[in-house]
Amino acid sequence: MFTVLNQTLLCLCFPVSHSQITRLYSRFHSLDKGENGALSREDFQRIPELAINPLGDRIINAFFPEGEDQVNFRGFMRTLAHFRPVEDNEKNKDPTSGEPLNSRANKLLFAFRLYDLDRDDKISRDELLQVLRMMVGVNISDEQLGSIADRTIQEADTNGDMSISFSEFTKVLEKVDVEQKMSIRFLH
């Protein structure tokens, strides 16, 4: 168990405390009911609080790379790494070492991908409508939802292609405190 953890520590190339990794490995192990070292979508859906989350399926999808049905511990950690809080000393880190997974840009990219259903790096009106429908259920009519989607695209779209690209997405959210909203703090 410990050699696997050490490898993961090295692979991720940023400091995570030993106890945090141990805790997450223990969590990974308890979710892995099939005990085959990898999680499937069913393993995630067994978490009741996630099953009742309107965007639960989109979040689960974010863990699985394109076309795959299993995620191992490294992949699990990689996705969770987006949610590490941004520490002050990391803000001044040398940019040549590659942007850390929990940077503001990468957090925004994670959220962007929740909207971008077909992974074509654009949020079309259709995709926005589908995600909105997931969030509101049956409580809002099609027309109202359609007008909400149109208004959102109108406000964000700067190059007139009726869809939102990642840079347009970033521009719309430039005033939002992304670091705080998309971070999970460990207690120990």
Partner: protein, 467 residues
């Protein structure tokens, strides 16, 4: 001819051997006989007689105190050992590993909208759902209730240890001795007692069943049940502290308690007399059930009857209406939870409309984990675990009786009782259904979340149309 000679020679050799070993053989027999007699006399004097009269020598409490000192020493040694080797000791925390702010959906979204001119929908709304979702993946309130609680200090049982690698010879020797004592001495003793207790229960209740119905029969039945349960308590080396015994359940009421293991029944029934409720089983359980019901009326349901809610409710109300019958013992969670929380109470027993006597049971996990993880272990495996732990230590609190108030429906009443039990026992009070151990969560909860969010969206558009 030569065959016969060979045979005869062999017979003579045997007789010679037996001749030499004869006195040794009889000596062994005598020794075994004496030790069995001594063993059973000790058992009788120290365990069975006190069980009959409900007194205690206090041996178990001394045992418990010495165990505590031992565990503390063991943990110190492990911490010191880990520090010397410069390793980090894994300390489990059952109270949650991440900081979760109890902010509701509306609050969070209002916060995000502050500063901007109140748009109807903001693309950043997704952050709330996203973060909550990932938080629940890292640590959620429900799934951890269905596995054994993690301990903060080691109790010399490998089954509860995550740090076990060789730290010091002394510690390993202690652990080894622990194994010897637990499996070589305690386990056989406990198994003997368990068989005695169960055997006596079956035999004596059948005998009491022969008496005509009346006060004498009830009196004898109470005594017999109490005695046998007390023997079973000693069979598990259960050290139980009862609090607030003035609130003990009375006839014509229902006793509800949180459920951690099948042992809960033995723990409660050794201090008071209850009518049990359950499904009819086959095998040994069936024999015990049939014997028990001869002495006093318990409520056993056939498998087919369990589905019929009206029938169940009717039988329970009929029993409760009869003042001469014992209080019913029910576990409304419906399944075993790991004793860190109390989950949703099924409303069936709260609809009957009689006095409810809540009881909180809290086990001390240091001496042996009582939780039955039925998806991992079968019953026999579980009992083996129980009987080879150090001891079962628990506290029982009898809470003051409660009844349904005006204008309160069964669900609200159930939640009120649950909250009282959780508060007294120091357990987390959860609204989640214990049935989530095996089943999926209902869609209606997701729809509630969606409705909440829609209100935030539509609500803000109403404001806009007004301004």
């Amino acid at each position: 001819m030569p065959m016969k000679a060979v045979f005869q020679r062999r017979l003579q050799k045997l007789k010679h051997i037996r001749g030499v070993q004869q006195p040794v053989f009889s000596l062994i027999c005598m020794l075994l006989g004496i030790s069995f007699t001594v063993w059973f006399t000790l058992l009788l004097v120290f365990i069975i007689v006190p069980a009959i009269f409900g007194v205690s020598f206090g041996i178990r409490r001394v045992y418990m105190k010495s165990l505590i000192k031992l565990f503390e020493w063991a943990t110190l040694r492990m911490e010191r050992g880990a520090k010397e080797k410069n390793q980090h000791l894994y300390k489990p925390y059952s109270n949650g590993i991440i900081a979760k702010e109890p902010v509701s959906l509306e609050q969070e979204i209002q916060e995000m909208r502050r500063g901007s001119a109140e748009p109807e929908f903001d693309m950043s709304d997704i952050f709330y759902f996203c973060r909550r979702g990932v938080e629940s993946i890292v640590d959620d309130e429900v799934t951890k209730r269905f596995t054994a609680e993690e301990l903060e200090s080691w109790n010399l049982l490998t089954r509860s240890n995550y740090n076990f690698h060789h730290i010091s010879t002394r510690l390993t020797a202690l652990w080894g001795m622990g194994v010897l004592i637990r499996y070589g001495f305690l386990l056989p003793l406990r198994v003997t007692l368990a068989f005695t207790g169960v055997g006596l229960l079956v035999v004596l209740t059948s005998i009491v069943g022969l008496f005509p119905n009346g006060r004498m029969k009830n009196y004898l039945s109470d005594k017999v049940h109490l005695m046998c349960y007390r023997i079973c308590v000693r069979a598990l080396t259960a050290i139980i502290t009862y609090h607030d015994s003035e609130n003990k359940p009375k006839n014509g009421g229902i006793c509800v308690a949180n459920h951690t293991s099948p042992i809960d029944v033995i723990i409660l029934a050794s201090d008071g007399c209850y009518a049990m409720v359950g499904q009819v089983h086959g095998g040994l359980m069936g024999v015990i059930q049939r014997a028990m019901v001869k002495a006093c009326p318990h409520i056993w349901f056939e498998r087919s009857e369990v589905k019929d809610r009206h029938l169940v409710a009717k039988r329970l109300s009929d029993h409760v209406a009869d003042e001469s019958k014992l209080p019913i013992l029910i576990f409304p969670e419906g399944t075993c939870i790991n004793n860190t929380s109390v989950m949703m109470f099924k409303k069936g027993s709260f609809e009957i409309g009689c006095t409810v006597y809540p009881v909180a049971i809290k086990y001390d996990p240091r001496f042996g984990d009582a939780f039955w993880n039925s998806s991992k272990f079968g019953m026999v495996n579980y009992l083996l675990h129980m009987m080879s732990s150090w001891a079962i230590v628990c506290s029982v609190w009898y809470l003051p009786p409660m009844s349904r108030m005006e204008g309160e429906d069964a669900v609200q009443f159930a939640n009120r009782v649950k909250a009282a039990i959780a508060r007294k026992g120091g357990l987390a009070d959860l609204l989640w259904d214990g049935g989530l151990k095996r089943g999926k969560v209902k869609e209606v909860f997701k729809e509630e979340q969606q409705k909440l969010y829609s209100k935030v969206l539509v609500g803000s558009s109403e404001d806009r149309s007004r301004s």
